[in-house]
Symmetry: C2
Subunit: 158 residues, 2 copies
Amino acid sequence: MKELLIKNVLDTWNSNIQRTDALFNSLTNEQLENEVAPGRNRGIYLLGHLTAVHDRMLPLLGLGQQLYSHLDETFITKPDKAVADMPSTEDLRDNWKEVNGKLAEQFAALQPDDFFKKHTSVSEEDFAKEPHRNRLNIIISRSNHLSYHLGQLTFLKK
Amino acid sequence: MKELLIKNVLDTWNSNIQRTDALFNSLTNEQLENEVAPGRNRGIYLLGHLTAVHDRMLPLLGLGQQLYSHLDETFITKPDKAVADMPSTEDLRDNWKEVNGKLAEQFAALQPDDFFKKHTSVSEEDFAKEPHRNRLNIIISRSNHLSYHLGQLTFLKK
């Protein structure tokens, strides 16, 4: 039953990643320069934001070091258009794929019980009281975060 | 562990409902008449759409009859602006609350094992082969669907 649940959560995660990946692949660099709606984030910012948030899942889940910590300030700490010197769109597209590939590889290597272990931003003490603050919960939460921005990114399609 | 997983999924569902509910409450009827982005769905359509999709979860999960089946054609079958005769915004706001309240009540009455039972759109035969097609999977999937549209609805805020 545990395995089923993990499958449910990972299937949803993977499906969201695939849909978002297909969308990014279908958009040109020029389209990614556009705001998803007037006055809102640009596609390029959301590409960087999702990459940075997924990248931080590696240390958060205790699955390795963050690969591209230089993205944090531009795409998490600061809002869109606050940083003039952005990475190139091609680099961001590569980082996005790399990070999600790394996560997929790490998820595949976990044993079922591993998904119920604590994530690294909760103390042993708090985890004893709140055992739902486990790795799977982070994946569920980030999956919803991805859906949220995917709904916005879809507006970049004509 | 089963209970933890259910808690993880229901917490995410409830949090999405609360965020969306707070957003709808903060928007005037006039704001809901606006498109979330140029040429895209209006807020009122997404309110009806989410209400109808959540309403259909009742029969899909085997938790009761759909309450407002008259919404299906306008808000699921057809796209926005295809039906001239829409329900009033006040009625939709009430239906939205009613449907989510009913779901919350039904979820609270389920035993842990009940979440792993099949939903009603999968046959016994297929479920034997694909046991992940259970109720919890529908809740995970609809939670992501809600996040997707919540990301769009947030653009209605000034």
